[in-house]
Amino acid sequence: MLTYTIRRLVLSVPTLLFIALVIFMLLQLAPGDPMAQVPLTVPPEVKAKMREALGLGQPAYIQFWKWLVQMFWIEPQVFIDYLTQRSFLFSWLPDTHFYTACGPEVQGACDLRVISWQTRSPVMDIVVQRLPQTLWVVGMAYVVGVLIALPIGIYSAYRQYSVFDQAGTFITMIGFSIPPFFTGPLLIVLFSVKLGWLPFIYDTTHVVNSWESFVYQIKQMIMPVMVLALQTTAQISRFMRASMLDNLNQDYVRTARAKGLGEAVVVMVHVLRNSMIPVVTVIALLVPGIFGGAIITEVIFSVNGIGQLLITALFANDLPMVMTLTFIFAFLIVLFNLIADVLYGILDPRVRYD
């Protein structure tokens, strides 16, 4: 198992490099000009200088190499420095100074991080600012979705073709079919406009320090979480139902019943544990997809997470930001695919990779 994990980890490096190259080439081929917003009165030689300052003058392979170096060599240095100097967990370690920022007073070697063309500040700093909002909403939505989906799947499989099962299947179908950009406005009209129960803009500056502010935080999270959770619930409850149905007719279930075990024990212990094996891997596989889905939800509810960051960066032609964000999404997909495969091997003793 360990060798398999290591082999997959090693193999994921070329995959990620290839994906980074695809994204980079796509951005290179794109005709958008970052200098388009510069006024026409600026003379061409100044424009050429500005282009060079953005790193645009060099050939594509050098630009790609520089991005790789910045992303995998300089950004980790900054991260380690942050951990040892200011972070809550590791600040007891001796301070490190791997990263030297460039400045007028710096003599000798210095490094530049990935800089956003929009804000002229490091891309990763902005991403780190935006990430908690996305993680809160997306993570909560995923947990809620899974918690709703599992009981629905279990019960509809146990009572196959009952009224509950048919209603569940119908609701799953609706969850598949209604896109989030329709459920979002629908919920806003219903709960914010007509009933006035919930706020329809996610306030990211809101600080939770009392019971009232906590209640407000819950209230503003309900709608985005429900919109995202509907998609998750639809997919996972379907898998759960199919997996339970596969197991309910197995011989070991009959044996368990023949031993005289109670129905609750048979279903909730014997069948459920075996049915969870494929479902757990599906749960891991669907995580990156929900980050993609979060882009639309963040736009609808004005959550300023990384999805919204990507949209604004795209419209502003901010290529380093787009490149880094898309790569982060790709990284998440590769990571969770790996987690799913390894989990499958750990949970199911019949699966042997070696």
Partner: protein, 323 residues
């Protein structure tokens, strides 16, 4: 009580053939008929397709015609609970803030959405089937093609689509006109990013079928690879392709609407369902029906396609058929 002497005679008699042998597609149709959801879905899809194709022959208002005097009209059914509402039979579903007729816009928008959906689905199936058959049939191609599929599966699809559509909008618009360029771009982007599931399914089926005796017989009688693929393999993998085609149609419609909703789709004066929904969100407190109508249209179409796919899957599976 029958006469015992006549019984053996009856048994010996040639069994009379009462009906011709049934074709496979007749069996499929018989099974399909039992799935009510699929029938309804198929019927609704047909209805939507016909109405977006020929609706403008019946409802001849121009969807782009501005009529500021008749702006912000409500749908005719609003008059039931609000007698003071601005309604009229000349605009049964109301008008928008520029006085464009909503019914005509829904029809025109549906035509775009369905055209993108069908074209993207066909492209997806073409790419997916080609790669799947090539990977399943030719041993040498299997490794590289499947690695390619895995790579595509780990690409972040929605962000990449956004990137591609935003960045390549200008040159295609310049070459093919604002609508044509966008149509080509969106169809290609959806097709290139969603063929992977089809390719995997088709490859699996092809690998199973090519070991069967009839393929061996075909090869023994001197059939070339081309003939085997076109005459023996493709007809046999048609059912999984059809099932994944319905899924592809549903995804393509949703993706196109999502791109339009995020503001990277068709130009602003060109109606599609997603675009109408996105434009209406700003004023949905006063005019909720402008969000509801295109939203319901998208959702019902996709729901119909999904049910159709469900029914097709059951009907095309010979293990379930006849139950």
């Amino acid at each position: 009580m029958t006469d015992p002497a006549t019984t053996p005679l009856n048994a010996l008699a040639e069994p009379e053939i009462t009906r011709p042998p049934r074709s496979q597609w007749r069996d499929v149709w018989d099974q399909f008929k039992h799935h009510k959801g699929a029938l309804l879905g198929g019927g609704f899809l047909l209805f939507i397709t016909l109405s977006v194709l020929f609706g403008d022959l019946i409802w001849q208002l121009d969807p782009k015609k501005l009529d500021i005097r008749a702006k912000d009209m409500r749908p005719i059914y609003t008059a039931i609970w609000d007698s003071g509402a601005k309604v009229g039979w000349n605009h049964p579903l109301g008008t928008d803030q520029l006085g464009r007729d909503q019914l005509a816009q829904i029809l025109a928008g549906g035509r775009t959405s369905m055209a993108v959906g069908w074209a993207a689905m066909l492209l997806t199936m073409l790419i997916g089937t080609t790669i799947g058959v090539a990977a399943g049939y030719f041993k040498r191609l299997e490794g590289p093609l499947m690695r390619l599929t895995d790579l595509f599966l780990s690409l972040p699809i929605l962000p990449l689509m956004l990137v591609a559509v935003t960045l390549f909008r200008q040159p295609l618009r310049a070459n093919f006109g604002p609508e044509g360029g966008m149509f080509i771009l969106i169809v290609c982007v959806i097709g290139v990013t969603s063929w992977m599931q089809t390719a995997r399914i088709v490859r699996g089926e092809v690998m199973a079928i090519k070991e069967r005796e009839f393929v061996l017989a075909a090869r023994a009688s001197g059939t070339k690879s081309r003939g085997i693929i076109l005459r023996h393999l493709l007809p046999n993998v048609l059912s999984p392709i059809m099932v994944s085609a319905t899924l592809g149609l549903a995804t393509a419609i949703i993706t196109e609407s999502a791109l339009s909703f995020l503001g990277v789709g068709f130009p602003s004066d060109y109606p599609t369902w997603g675009k109408m929904l996105a434009d209406a969100v700003d004023r949905m407190q006063e005019f909720p029906e402008r969000v509801m109508l295109p939203g319901v249209a998208i959702s019902l179409t996709v729901l119909a396609v999904n049910y159709l796919g469900d029914g097709l899957r059951d009907a095309l599976d010979p293990r379930i058929r006849g139950r």
